[in-house]
Each structure stands twice: as structure tokens, then as C-alpha cells.
């Protein structure tokens, strides 16, 4: 099966700190990958390295069989789109204008912009200024911009897109990511391992910059592996994987 995104021996150091230490994996077309792990486990650094924002000290990244380091900035932008942890819009753009900015490398396409806005359920709010949108809506605008940027058959990277988003928005986001993963690959960092297990096809578990496990979500997101990664007992409660809580006093 075609490898959509792969990493080999990734090491990233910030001074004396190893943010990533010998991380390697490969995911096929159609993979919806949940990247989970405790705080400071290297999730965001991994996502930024895969998107070409951080140069690894060692190792390499391949996208659709091509070395990421050898892609021009324009080719990279047409192969991979990223939604960072904190998307920003400084100038008073409307939602439609922000989504259209995603077409910087590929060239203008009102159809791609309209489709992306529709996919995230913001078609009716397209001409509202971003400053007037709610936090959840702004997050969806950022996702729509990324969807418009790369089109089908490419890699989408999202860092904590579900943070601070209500359950209805989470459900909509899950559907959007599932749809996009059908033709390409989607990598998404999550704090909720239960949610990750519920919708991801594959998973990466990180702890202190090292890869704890990578593979099918059902085999990777187990209480044993997650307990080891988080350093805290995890258990399945009502079909949902969650941290073991102290008994009620």
C-alpha cells in the first residue's frame, strides 16, 4: 500500500533537551492517525517537523514517497497543510477571505474555497468578519483554510483541533477529518485518548519525545500502552478509555 507519510529516526533537540528521540513510522493512504501522549511528550514538535516547520537534527520525513527536505516551499504547501494549535488572523478578513488565503501556493479557486467552507459548515457565515466569529467557528475557519490549501489526496496535519470545542463541533470535525482521510492521510494530536480510539484508524503514542507505540488504533490505544505513556493508570469505562480516577471520599 502506498505510504502517504513516513518518518525515519527523527531527532529534534532544543538546546540540551531532546524533543524527539529516534521517532519512526509509516502510514498508508486512508490513514486517520491520532497522535496522543502526555504534555511535553513531543506531539507538537512532531507535527511541526512533519509539516517542515522544524528541521530535524537527525532523520528524515517522506511525503508520498518524496523526501520532504527536497520539496520546494510551494510543492510542500501543495502536499501538506497544517492547522496549528493556535491559529491566528490578525487583519480584519472575512471567513471566506481567510479560507482563500489557503490557495496561495496552488492558485485561486473559488470552488475549492466554497467546498471547504461547506465541509466545515460555515457556508452561511462565509462573509462574516473573523473577529465576529466564536472561538469554535474560528477553529473551523482554520480547518477550512487547510482543506482548501491541499485538496484531496494529500496530508493534513492538525494540532489539537478539538481543544475548547463543544461536542457538536467535535462530531462535525470528526466527520470532516474522516472524509478527508479517505483519499489522503490526516494526523491529529489529541488529549482525549478515548476520542482518539473512537475515530482514528491509526495511532502514534509518544512519551518524553520517544515513540511508545505506532500502528492500528485498536492495537495501539490500549490501557497498558497508554498507562505506560502517561505514567498513570488508564482503564476502559463504558467502552471509553479514560484515566483511573481516585475513589470518591
Amino acid at each position: 500500500m502506498e505510504r502517504m507519510i513516513a518518518a525515519t529516526g527523527l531527532c529534534v533537540r532544543f538546546g540540551a533537551t531532546k524533543a524527539l528521540d529516534d521517532v519512526g513510522f509509516a502510514f498508508p493512504r486512508g490513514a486517520l492517525v491520532a497522535v496522543v501522549g502526555p504534555n511535553a511528550s513531543g506531539k507538537s514538535t512532531l507535527m511541526r517537523t512533519l509539516a517542515g516547520l522544524v528541521e530535524p537534527d537527525e532523520g528524515s520525513v517522506e511525503v508520498m514517497g518524496l523526501p520532504l527536505a527536497r520539496l520546494s516551499i510551494e510543492s510542500r504547501a501543495q502536499a501538506i497543510a497544517m492547522v496549528p494549535q493556535r491559529p491566528e488572523v490578525l487583519a480584519p478578513f472575512t471567513a471566506r477571505e481567510v479560507v482563500a488565503l489557503g490557495r496561495y501556493a496552488a492558485g485561486p479557486s473559488s470552488a475549492a474555497v466554497a467546498a471547504a467552507l461547506d465541509a466545515v459548515g460555515l457556508a452561511a457565515r462565509a462573509d462574516v468578519g473573523c473577529h465576529a466569529l466564536s472561538g469554535g467557528e474560528r477553529q473551523r475557519v482554520a480547518v477550512a483554510r487547510a482543506l482548501a490549501q491541499v485538496g484531496e489526496g494529500s496530508v493534513l496535519i492538525l494540532d489539537e483541533p478539538m481543544a475548547g470545542v463543544d461536542p457538536a463541533e467535535v462530531a462535525r470535525m470528526v466527520q470532516v477529518l474522516r472524509d478527508r482521510a479517505k483519499t489522503g492521510a490526516v494526523l491529529v494530536t489529541l488529549h482525549d485518548a478515548g476520542l482518539a480510539r473512537a475515530f482514528a484508524t491509526h495511532a502514534l503514542v509518544l512519551s518524553r519525545g520517544r515513540l511508545v507505540a505506532a500502528g492500528d488504533a485498536s492495537e495501539t490505544l490500549t490501557p497498558e500502552i497508554l498507562s505506560s505513556a502517561y505514567g498513570h493508570p488508564m482503564e476502559i469505562r463504558g467502552g471509553w478509555i479514560a484515566p483511573r480516577l481516585p475513589p470518591q471520599r
Binding site: A51, I73, E88, L90, F93, E97, L101, Q149
Partner: protein, 328 residues
């Protein structure tokens, strides 16, 4: 919205220019008198030079402010607040003093512009480095660094002013408050116009990249914008524009702050229209200030143009600071 915005800015510019052309000091056998109505050909020439100079200085400051706001991701950025104008002013003062003391007339505008560019670029580099924290450029830290560095250069300029002979001291003092020459050397007006148009074209070419640069740094870079290259260009363009405006008219504040904000309000957020609108807005604001000052006699002459822009721009700065937004 866009056409209406451009129409408003154009009307303000034309009305302000018409007022300035109809009312102002006219040369009359070596003396100056105030006149209103249809001016003589000679007066029209003098006033026309002031209007054209004001328009290009305003356009340069508007574009410099816009470039700095995108470069630093800071809605409060502008050459005066960031100390760039003071740095450029110090460069000009040094060149003027050296030219005067060494009696080198050839150092006039070309030398002043060169001194201003060096002063502006050095100041910008210092402020950028002081305003940088581990997380990038912090807006408040940047503004504070600019204010302090600007104050240091303004003091250094005053030191130069104290050290030069009386005649040049008066010249320096009036130039430091902002002064548009009514009889500018042709080459200085030409250099100002050429630099403004050239830098404006560079910004217009980068308009789409500047739009994307208004997203987060990570989004801009992964969208295909070479942010390092864009930053280098914005750095140079803003430095040259601020320097050339200061060399021509002295350190005039707040036009670079107000013009881009007014442009965004009137024509929208896309830099395809914000770049020309900032130039037009800056031109309209400075010609309006130049016209307004003709009506304010402070006894020793007309009120300096820099005082008018500071009186109007200071409150605008505070308003934008309170809102801390790009569409203030």
C-alpha cells in the same frame, strides 16, 4: 466598499490640496505674506511643491507603517513609535553637521538621505533585536524598545544640535519638528518620489504574501510563503521609506500608524487594496495637516506639521492600543 473607500481618500486629498494651494504663505519680494484665493503663478509653484512633497512624504510614511505592522505582526508599529524616525533623524543631523562643519555642499540631500537610511536601518535592527523574546516579537516589548531607542536617538540629535553653530541649530530645530520645504531641490523631490513609488510597487507585488503573513507564523509558512524572504524585503522597504521621508521632511509621527488603519477600515483587509490605500491615506493625511497648519499662526510662523500630526495621531495611538486590533 473598496471603491467608496478609495473615493473618500481621494476626495480628502484633493480638497486638502485645493485648500493648501489657495491659502498659504506666498513669496512677495523676499517677504512672506498670507494670501487666499487664486494664487500667483509663483505662489502656486511654492504651494504646489509643498503639496507634492507632503503627498509623497505621507505616502512613504503610510507604506512604511503598513510594512512595519505586517513585519512585526503588531498593529501599533510605525516608524515614529518604533524609533526609526529618530534614528533616521540622528543620521541626517550627523550628515548635516558634518556637511556644515566641513563646508561640503554636495552632502546636501543625497548625503542626508544616505545618513537617514543608515540611521533607520540600524535603529530598526536594534529595536527588533531588543523586542524579541523566546516566543518571538512581543508587541508591548517592541513598542517599549522603540520608544526608548527613539528617545536615545532624539537626545543624541539634540546633542548634535547643541554642538553646531547657531545658524544650523535653528535649521535643525525646525526640521526636527517636521518641515516641508517649499523650494525643495528638484533632485530631493525626485528621489523621494522615486523611492516611494519603487517601494510601493515592491509592496504591491508582495500583497498576497502579506495577506498570508497575517495568519499565524506556522500557517503562513506551511501555506507556501517564504517568510524569511518576505521579512527581509519588508525590513528594507520600511527602513528606506521611513528614512527618505525623514530626510525630506523631518521626523513626522503617527501618519504611518493612522494611514494603514484608516485604509483597512475604508477598503477592507486585502493588501492588494490596502497597499495603495495606505499610500493614498498617508498622502491625504499629510496634505490635510499641511493645509491645516496654514490656519494656525503661533507668532513665530505657522505651526510645525509634526505638531499637528502628533496632536491628532497621539489619541489615535491610544485608541488603537485600547482596542489592540488591526481594524481599529
Amino acid at each position: 466598499m473598496t471603491a467608496r473607500g478609495f473615493a473618500i481618500l481621494t476626495i480628502v486629498l484633493l480638497v486638502a490640496a485645493a485648500v493648501r494651494l489657495s491659502f498659504g504663505p506666498a513669496s512677495d519680494g523676499g517677504a512672506l505674506r498670507m494670501s487666499f484665493g487664486v494664487p500667483s503663478v509663483e505662489a502656486l509653484g511654492l504651494r504646489g511643491s509643498a503639496v507634492i512633497g507632503a503627498a509623497f512624504v505621507g505616502a512613504a510614511l503610510g507604506l512604511a507603517g503598513l510594512a512595519l505592522q505586517v513585519l512585526l505582526r503588531n498593529p501599533l508599529a510605525e516608524p515614529f513609535i518604533l524609533g526609526v524616525s529618530s534614528g533616521a533623524g540622528f543620521g541626517v543631523a550627523l550628515v548635516l553637521a558634518a556637511g556644515y562643519l566641513l563646508a561640503i555642499p554636495a552632502m546636501r540631500f543625497g548625503g542626508e538621505a544616505g545618513g537617514a537610511v543608515v540611521g533607520a536601518v540600524v535603529t530598526l535592527a536594534v529595536v527588533l533585536s531588543l523586542g524579541r523574546s523566546r516566543e518571538g516579537h512581543d508587541p508591548t516589548r517592541l513598542v517599549l524598545s522603540g520608544v526608548i531607542v527613539g528617545a536615545i536617538f532624539a537626545s543624541a540629535t539634540m546633542l548634535v544640535e547643541q554642538m553646531v553653530p547657531h545658524g544650523l541649530r535653528g535649521d535643525l530645530l525646525s526640521w526636527m519638528a517636521g518641515r516641508l520645504p517649499e523650494i525643495p531641490p528638484r533632485e530631493s523631490l525626485g528621489l523621494l518620489a522615486a523611492a516611494t513609488v519603487l517601494c510601493g510597487l515592491v509592496l504591491a507585488r508582495d500583497a498576497r504574501a502579506m495577506d498570508v503573513a497575517c495568519l499565524s507564523e506556522d500557517e503562513a509558512r506551511t501555506s507556501g510563503v517564504d517568510m524569511a524572504r518576505l521579512r527581509r524585503r519588508l525590513f528594507l522597504v520600511s527602513g528606506v521609506l521611513a528614512a527618505i521621508a525623514v530626510a525630506y521632511a523631518g521626523p513626522i509621527g503617527f501618519v504611518g500608524l493612522v494611514a494603514p488603519h484608516a485604509a483597512r477600515r475604508l477598503v477592507g483587509a486585502s493588501h492588494r487594496v490596502v497597499v495603495p490605500a495606505s499610500a493614498l491615506g498617508g498622502a491625504a493625511l499629510l496634505v490635510l495637516a499641511e493645509s491645516t497648519r496654514q490656519f494656525i499662526d503661533v507668532g513665530t510662523g505657522r505651526l510645525a506639521i509634526g505638531v499637528i500630526t502628533a496632536l491628532a495621531g497621539g489619541p489615535a495611538f491610544l485608541w488603537i492600543l485600547r482596542r489592540s486590533r488591526w481594524n481599529a
